[in-house]
Structure formats: C-alpha cells, structure tokens
Point group: C2
Chain length 709, copies 2
Amino acid sequence: MKQFLLLLTHFILIVATSFAAAPVTSDGDDGYRLWLKYEPVTIPAIKADYLKYSGFIGQSSNGETIGSASKELQRGMQQLLGKSISVVSSPGNRAGGIVFKLKSETADKQDHEGYQIQLSAGNIVISSESENGLLYGAFALLRRLQMQQPLKNLNIASRPKVQYRMLNHWDNVDGTIERGYAGSSLWKWYELPERVDPRYEDYARANASLGINGTVLNNVNASARFMSQEYIVKVAAIANVMRKYGIKTYLSVYFAAPKTLGGLTTSDPLDPKVRAWWTEKVAQIYKEIPDFGGFLVKANSEGEPGPQDYGRTHADGANMLAEAFKPYDGIVIWRAFVYKADPNADRFKAAYEEFVPLDGKFDPKVIVQVKNGPIDFQPREPFSPLFGNMPKTPLGMEFQITQEYLGFAAHAVYEAPLFKECLDSDTYVNGQGSTVAKVIDGSLHGYTKTLMAGVANTGSDRNWTGHPLAQANWYAFGRLSWDHQLSAEQIADEWTRLTLTRDQKARGHVVNMLLRSREIYVDYNTPLGLSRPWMGVHFAPEPWQSRGSRPDWTATYYHRADSTGLGFDRTTGGSNALAQYQLQVQKQWNNPDKTALPYLLWFHYVGWDKKLSTGKTLWGELCTRLYAGADSVLWMQKQWDLAKVNLDPEVYTNVAQRLKVQHREALWWRDAWVLYLQSFARQPVPAEFEAPKQTLEDVKKSVNVYLIR
Amino acid sequence: MKQFLLLLTHFILIVATSFAAAPVTSDGDDGYRLWLKYEPVTIPAIKADYLKYSGFIGQSSNGETIGSASKELQRGMQQLLGKSISVVSSPGNRAGGIVFKLKSETADKQDHEGYQIQLSAGNIVISSESENGLLYGAFALLRRLQMQQPLKNLNIASRPKVQYRMLNHWDNVDGTIERGYAGSSLWKWYELPERVDPRYEDYARANASLGINGTVLNNVNASARFMSQEYIVKVAAIANVMRKYGIKTYLSVYFAAPKTLGGLTTSDPLDPKVRAWWTEKVAQIYKEIPDFGGFLVKANSEGEPGPQDYGRTHADGANMLAEAFKPYDGIVIWRAFVYKADPNADRFKAAYEEFVPLDGKFDPKVIVQVKNGPIDFQPREPFSPLFGNMPKTPLGMEFQITQEYLGFAAHAVYEAPLFKECLDSDTYVNGQGSTVAKVIDGSLHGYTKTLMAGVANTGSDRNWTGHPLAQANWYAFGRLSWDHQLSAEQIADEWTRLTLTRDQKARGHVVNMLLRSREIYVDYNTPLGLSRPWMGVHFAPEPWQSRGSRPDWTATYYHRADSTGLGFDRTTGGSNALAQYQLQVQKQWNNPDKTALPYLLWFHYVGWDKKLSTGKTLWGELCTRLYAGADSVLWMQKQWDLAKVNLDPEVYTNVAQRLKVQHREALWWRDAWVLYLQSFARQPVPAEFEAPKQTLEDVKKSVNVYLIR
C-alpha cells in the first residue's frame, strides 16, 4: 500500500509537471537511459506475442552476473510490457517464460562468451557457456523486444569476434578528462571507496548491453596514485560494481611508479628490485580485486617515462609487467603510440619503426595496442602500417570514441563509417582479403589474444556524452567490438530505433544524417587527405600554426603548403612511409593520379593547378569540398527537422541547437582553410562560391580568442 | 489524447521501474529539484484551504519576470495540489485566486524588491514595487505551501536587507571549477551561444527562490576570453535566461586584458588609451546585455595583474572601470583579498593595510568585497578587521559556500553558523552593537550600496552540490543574503522540510546534526583557533608542510608549533594584528586567559602545559577536541540513521556513505595533528584516549599519495 501511495504520488507529480507552463529539464527525455529506454511496446499483436513468455524467468544457476541478467530482463520486460515477472530457480517443465541455460564449456574459447536464443518447449531459452554470455543474450533479446521485432522462428546465435572489448577512460585523478567534452569524470575518487555512485551501475549496464567486458578507469597519462593502497581500494569499489555486469577493471600505470611511489632509485625494467616491486604491486591489487583485468601502458611517448629511459626496449618494459601478472589472468596492454621529436623524420613512420623489430619479443601476456591510423585519430587516416606487420605479436585496435578531432560535443559525427573504413582496409599481407579486421580478430595471424579498445566519450553530463548523437558512437564502438561485420547503417538504424524514435520515416532521416555526417565533417575540416590543422587545443582551425615546442606539434608540418602546392609526399620521392605497406597497398597510393581523393594529400604533394579526377584543379576541388561540407550542415539540420515530430522535444532542441553551433563552426573552418590556402595558391575562390566575407586576419583573431588561457 | 497517452506511458514506466529488482539512479530522489520539490500536500484540511485559492492566477501586468512568477506558481500549485491553474490578465473582482499586484515605486530603495503577501477579498494578493519582488513573493508563498503551513491570517511583509545578493562562480573557460567539488562547470562555453542548456533555467529558479539577484559567471582568476565578442555573445545567451528570473549577470575581468586582448602596450589605469579601451568594452557588453551587472576584479593578488603593476592604487584601478560604467547601472566589485609575500609580515594584516588608507577614494560605483575573515575561508576565523574601518567605502561580504577548506564534497558541514558567527560579530566601531551585519547592510555607515556574495558550490553533478547536505549551504547563503537576521536553526529546519522530510521527528535529527556539524569539523580539523594546515590541495592534513614558494604558503607559518608551545602571537608582543580592531575587540582577544577558546591560537602563542579554562592543559585540550571531533562523526551517523525511515532511500544512502568517508578522514586528521604536535609537545596522548595506531610517518605517507600529480 505504501508502495502504491508512492506510485500515486509520482503519478500526480508527473501529471502536474506535464502541464506546467515552463518546462524543466526533467520533463523531457534527458538522455540518461541511453539505448536502454525500454519504452512500452505499442503494437498489440507484438505485445500479445511477448506476453506469452512473460510468465517467469528461469534462473537455475547462481552467480552475480546471471543475477544481473535476470534483473535486467525483469526490468526490461516490466517496462516494455507493464508486467512484473518473478525469477524462479527451478522452472522444471514450466512453459511461458524465459529460461537461462548455462552450458558446459567447450574447447573453442571464442564460444565462451557467445549465446544462443531460441524458442523451445514454449519458452524463450537463452543459453551460453558463461554467465557473461547469458547476460549478453538477455540484452540481445531485450534489444529485439525494444525494436518490436516478432519472436516467430526466433533463433539467434552470436559470439564475439574479439576477446577483450574495452573502453579506455582518459580520466585524471582531479576529476577532469583529457579530451572529455561531456562534463567531468564519472569516477569520484575523493568520495570512494565508501561512497559508490549509483551511476557506476548504469554505466556498467550500458556497456554490458553492447558486450563490452573491460574498462580502463584512468588516463594513459597515468598518475602513480593509482598504485597506492589508498587508490587500489577505491578502484576495488568500482570493480565490485563492474563485476556484476561481467566487466573487468583495468588501470593505466605510470612507468616510473617504482621510483616516484615506491622510493626506489630506478624504474629500470631489468632491475630485480623494480621487478619485485611490480610483482608485489600486482599481488596487492589482486588481493583487493580478484578479477583485475590488467595494465594499460603509455611509455616513452609524449614525455611519459618508459623503458627507453634505461636503454631498454618496449618489449623489456612490457615483459617485466607481464611477469608480474604470471599468477593471474590479467594482461598487459602496451600502446604503440610513440614518436620522437625528429624534424627530419616522418611521424607517420615512427610506430612501425619502433615496434616491427620487436615482433616476437613480447611475452604472450602482452597485447600491443595500435591506434587505427599512423598519426593520431584524425577525421580520416589511412590504416596504421603496423597492422599486418607484426604477425607474432597480438595487436589490439585503439579507436577514439571521444571527438577530440571531431568537433568536441558540438559537431554531429557518426563514427561507425570511420571505424569500418579502417577495419575493412586490406593490408594484403597474406594476399587479398587480409583486412585489418582479420588482423584484429586474430584470424589472420592466429593471435591467441584479441582486443578492441575505444577511448571513451562518457562524462558526468546527464546524457553521458554531451551531444545526444554522440551516444551513437559509444553504441557503435561497442557493437563493432563484438562483431566488426555489422554495417554502419545497421548499427545506426538500431541505435536510432532504440534511442530516438521507432517511426520508420523519421528514423530514415536520422540514419541518413548519421551516415553522411563523418564525410561532411571531413569535407569542411580536412578534405582530400589534409590532417592535423590544430595545435594543442584541437578545437579551432589553426592551419597556419608553424611554431611549436617540437616540429611535429605544428600544423604546417602536416600539410606542407607553399606557393606551388600542398600535401605530404610519402612516396619514394618523399619520406617513403608508403614502403611500410604491402606492394598492393603501395600501388593504391603511390601514384597521385590513381590515389583515391580522400587519401591524396596524405601521400602526395600536389600542385595547385593539378587537374584531379573530378575535373577540377586541386585548388578548385578543395574549395568545392570546403563549401559543400559547410553547406551540408544545413542539409543535416533539414534531416533533423524532418524527424522532429517523432522526436522527444528536449532531445530535438538539444541537437537542433548544436547543429547551429556546428554550422557556424563549419563556416569558420571553411573560411580559415580557404583564406589560408589562398595565401599560397593565389587564386580566386571559384565563381560559384561566395568568397569569405572576412579576412584571414579576422579568422586568426577569432581563433586566437580560444588560445587565451 | 496524445498528452494522455504520454502520461500513461510515463505511468507504466514508473510502475515498472518501481518494481524493478535493481534500482537505477532515476528511481530515487536524485536531488535535482533542490528545495523546489513541490511534493503533494498531504494534510487534507490544509489542502482544502489551499484549493480555495487555486481558481486562477491574476497577472495584470506584463513582463518577463512577472511571467516567471506566474509560471512558477502554476507549476508549484499543480504539483502541490494536482490542479492546473490558468493565468488571467484581467481578474477583475474574481475571488479564489492568487493575484499579483505591481505597486508604484516609492523613494525607499530598500522597499523596491520587497513583497507583501496578504489575504484580501478572497484572494491571496502578492504585491511589490518590482517584478523581482513579485517573483520573490511567489516563491515565499510556495515555500509556505510546501511546508504545509496554514493560510489563516496570512500577512507577510519582507524586504531584502542587502541590495546585491549574488553568487560568485570560480568557473574556468575549460569547464573546470577552481575549488569545485560537484563536477564541472554548469556553463558550456563550447556549446554557447546557440545551445542553451535547460539547466540554466533551473539554476536561475533556484537562486531566485532565495532572493539572489546576481551571478558572476567566471572565476576571479579570470580569462581575458570573456572580454572578446565571441564570449560576450555566449554570456548574453546565459544572461537572457537569468533575466527571466530577475538575476543580473556579471563577469570577472582580467586586469591586463587591454594588453593581452586589446593589443595595447600597457594596462595602466591612468593611461587614456586603456581607459578608452575599457569604456568601449563596457559599451560593447551593454549592446548585447542591456542589464549587465558589472565587473568583479581580483587584482594584484596571488599573481594576478593589477594597477600596482604601474604604481597605481587599487582605487585607481577600480575607479577607471567605474568610469566605464558611468552610462549604465552596472557596478565594479573590487576584491580586498590581497597579501604580499613578506616573510616578516603577518598576512592577517595585509588587506587592512592596503585598503584602509584608500577609504573615501573609491568611485561611488565601486564596492569593495571582503572575505569574512582576514586569511582565507578557514573553518573558523575572527571577522576581518576591515569591517567597520572603511566607513566611506561600501564593503561587501564574501562568503565561501563551496567547501574548499571544509572537506570538499565528502564532509557534512552546515555553514549557516559560520556565516552567522561573522555577521553577528561586534566591531564596536560605533559602540556596542556595531555588528558586521550592520556594516554589510549599510545601516552602520550609511552605505548607498550593499552586497553579499557567496562563492558557489554548484556544479554539473545531478544534485548540483555533490554532497546532498551541501545544498543546505547554498540555501542558507541565499536566505541570509536576503535577511541576515534569520537564525541558522530556522534556515536548517526550513531547508530540511523542503528538501528531505516533512516528518517532525526526523527533521529534528537532521537539524541537530546540521547545527552541530561545523563545530564538529572544527574540532577534528582546526581546533582552538588553529588554521590553514594545508598546502595547495586543501584536502589532506599537512600541518608539517614548511616549504612553499612563499612563506605564507606553508602550514607552519600559521600554527608556529615548537617545543614550548603553539599558536600565532598577534598581540603587541607579536605581530600586533589585534591593533587593527577596536579596543573592545582587542580586549576580548588580547589576553590569553580571557580569549574564548575557539580563537585562542589565532591570537596567542600558548605553552603546551598552559592550563586552559576547561581545566586541561593546551595539549590535553587539543587531544580532547581532536578525539571528540572525530568521534562526533559517529554521532552524526546516528542522527542520520534515526531519520532514515523518513528519508528517500537514495538520498539516505548517498549521505550515509559520505558520512563514512567523513569518519575515516576525521580520524586521519585527528591522527595527523596528534602525532605531529606530539613531536613538539613530547607528551603522551591522555589516558582516556586510545593513542593513534599509526606513526606520523604512516600518516605523511598516506597524505603524500594525494600530492602525487
């Protein structure tokens, strides 16, 4: 009865709120529920069908993660169908329910986390060899129910293509996030371990619903604090929540911690005291977190300490840590993102040069984590030449979900096409079809460990990601980490259905907009293979920046514009970075006349008047893309408006307002590039485009505002 | 009908959610609504009474702020009574409603924002000379209704004692908050001006409900960015929201902006070009924000630029800015928080020495904003000796709501007693009863401008303040800025009723806990007049820190412990800071035997074995307070538990978990002080207390963890 009164109270509140003249935030969809909205099923026949299996949830084995699966099904079914369902431990021969079935393990490790969903003896049966698999099966079923798909002939079997599917949080101890655009860190270090924010659980649910099974809580530019007992118990409190959803907790480590925290005189990986320190440290962690996932390491990169400080190799450093993990399941993930400050070198080549010679020298517990492209998460990059060239070392993929170079939280850029473009790239190392995806999923080289990581875009903002559409990037990363063969379109459609609207027409508009958004961004931001027109802020256009603390921290290093042309020659006549790829790949990209335009300036220095395959000169084509890109944001606005009636008003307004920011900034980018490159090309803007109304100095002035401390 | 379906959908959702096995965040009270929860009236007779006035809302004048008042009444009445009420513009002789009455202005400026609420001709009539007053009246009425107080003989008249009631946000352009413990900044600079977060409006509502009429959006360590047109339009978008709730928007300014942003060669306040730059800048702001509030300035303080860089005085700097505001209503608020790095000086005396000689030299548009104490927002300080000593210069009060020195978001410290202690302090400048409050409200010196500012504790956390009980500090500040005669107890009771529970007994437990919380914190943190045992982080105990970049940025500078005693001698035998006070105040504090114990070590160096009025030695009394303080956190936990059944479960758990953090950290503080001071006093811990189990080195080690980058 008290429960009921409480409900009634809620109801009255909501009635009142809904009529209120001035809406408050909480009236609309605030985005907190992500793609797990579980809104009531509206199609009567479908609902009737679903109700047939709403008699009970059969959970005959115990376990924290199975328990979470049952709870999630309860929650989901109740919200979808308005019916409370009990969990029974001995369903016996009962029919009309959903039954979890834990099967015995087989030899094929890839099956372990997989699941099957079938209709059997009047029940929906979700079976798996593991608790995680049952949880994933429950979420898969709920996804289907949310999309109001019929159950007839239900027969799903799915297993992950990649073993370690994880988020990397670049979250600092002070609560800030490096490259975070959605508020502050989710992790409240000053309140832990006693205070456990209930949000941690919703974070875990969202990830588990996609099949993500690991999370690295702290920034790769790591604080040594995390190796202290004080912080280990804080981490353990989070790990206790993650565990319930099948997620293992990992930490980034500061390589010099033995010195700075342990008080040793060195952090040399070959020093026995250092090795003992790490061994003891890992043991200390496992005492608090028995299923600890492992370490992620950024070493000898951008000023971070590492084994090279002692004349040792990356393998020496990684293997020392791997040794400390020997008694446990944990792994060592070693980042390949390294490049030296050499004015004559090509940063493009750095990771390959450092790591390929080490192939075969890493401990089996080590995975080398490679960014998708050779530079740094640009709007478009060719795939990293490391993929395919380290057959004896498991290479993991590092994608960036947070939009560091993609307009922060103000630009709508759906990233699945970017991820897919890399995964589908052919390395040709074992002949045609040797895609990056096959490197990553282990099938090409027989890797025994496989990994896909995404640098998270989550933060404390109520809707998790700041831009409502950025939720789709988290979703897409998760889904692709499970199955890289899903198409960008399928994922977009799924996400839109679950998150924004079930209406087919409205969905079409939104999906179209999502699918084109990345190419539109590339057009106004870095067309034709331009890259890195940023200095430190990575926000405003700064292609003119030529002074930095090191040569590869300038913008001019990357585009090399001068009075005769533009672009970075990476052929034999230039840095010859192309030589790091297989011949067939070189062939794609070594001839400027045959190089696909999106990659042109990545590999070639091209004259301003060079005629491209479009029939336009380089200058003309650049202008065309910059103008078209900026104009296309208006097209995006139009698509969004066409979906309006089928969208939650708060979400509609939120995105509509951000699309206005995006358009203003797209024009800014366009003008910056056009005016800056014009100062070299010395040609008028083609007559069909209205020349920028501002001068280059005007643009620089407005950019400089954002460089003021 | 669509509306109804929507409601039904919501209802089903809620039914379902409430039964769900695993609660998600959104199930409980997430604290977002603050003290404006408007939960349904539960007492039938009271409800019937209220319904008598629910026929209509009479709003005969137009205006954005009156409109907000009507909307808020609609929203409130609907949620409280479950009834939708229309706003009518011509109520005529209708009875049974709530009528707004805008009266003509009188000469008494203090009346302008005041309001009256009376029963008249069958209506509740809210009258005021201003739109703001009507809004404040509406909120006052709603407060009464929320507390379920009878309307019989309703006759309220209230007017603010202070003219400028404002929050100071120390929010940076990068979204971080200096001394913020509740997430990131509310202001999303990268999304503005197009994207206007609906939360801005809820922020404005919360402030207006307390009578706050101004907000300074950015940190006093100000970025010059805010003086750019790019940022002015962003600020204007926020100001447009604030205006609806009678709140003026202010900015902190970077004094060197004419150089760094304007490209001038100097920022000398007497330079005509500099003066012209500011004049033009202010005009530019008013073009976008016609009701702009003014500037807040931190100059020549902690490394910030200022007029002294050019051999000019604070008055020169402030008056230059005041001149720029001449055509407008805006004001200049100049902070008195200055102190030089002089190893032989007493920082206590710095502000007085700098500012008292300038009394009478400031433009009438300038208010000098003074921190409550002479040092820096310590858990307890004597009142600043500036109060009472600048009769010709309006002095405003600067309180700190955010808990920089009060345990961040982990410790429950209700600040109203701290605020009141300062406001009620007697300066004796015009004889007994010359309280700080009378300085601040202008009655003592006839100030024509009066101001009370609070450094905000708000952030992007869903519940605004991180610690749920920290909401009470925002509330208390706001209420006291309107009426400093309200008691800490009355405010605590009001807040608890509005926010946590209407149950009288539970309320009693919570209010008791709140009222004692600050003294408990002082006991374990800085008993007997100790201060500033922190270095830069202001989190962990560091009384041993003796090396800093300047002498007054160490901990030992403040407590001066050695083998014979402890404390800072500020009598004639010492720094003689006491001489800055009136004789009667000196008399209170210049004799160690007569100095009230809470202030003892603020003014005296006291021997370890000195017998205090408690009958214990200094060492014994210090131990007693440190132990009692830490133990009292258990008492707080007990009070909170006693209220549990009447509290929302999510709020209960949130606070209960934080009280555990608080207890652990209180023991940490206790041990740090006891062990550190023991190294000087060389005496055992009194037998009745269990000596710390850890060593001083242990404590230092655990503190050092938090100093790692």
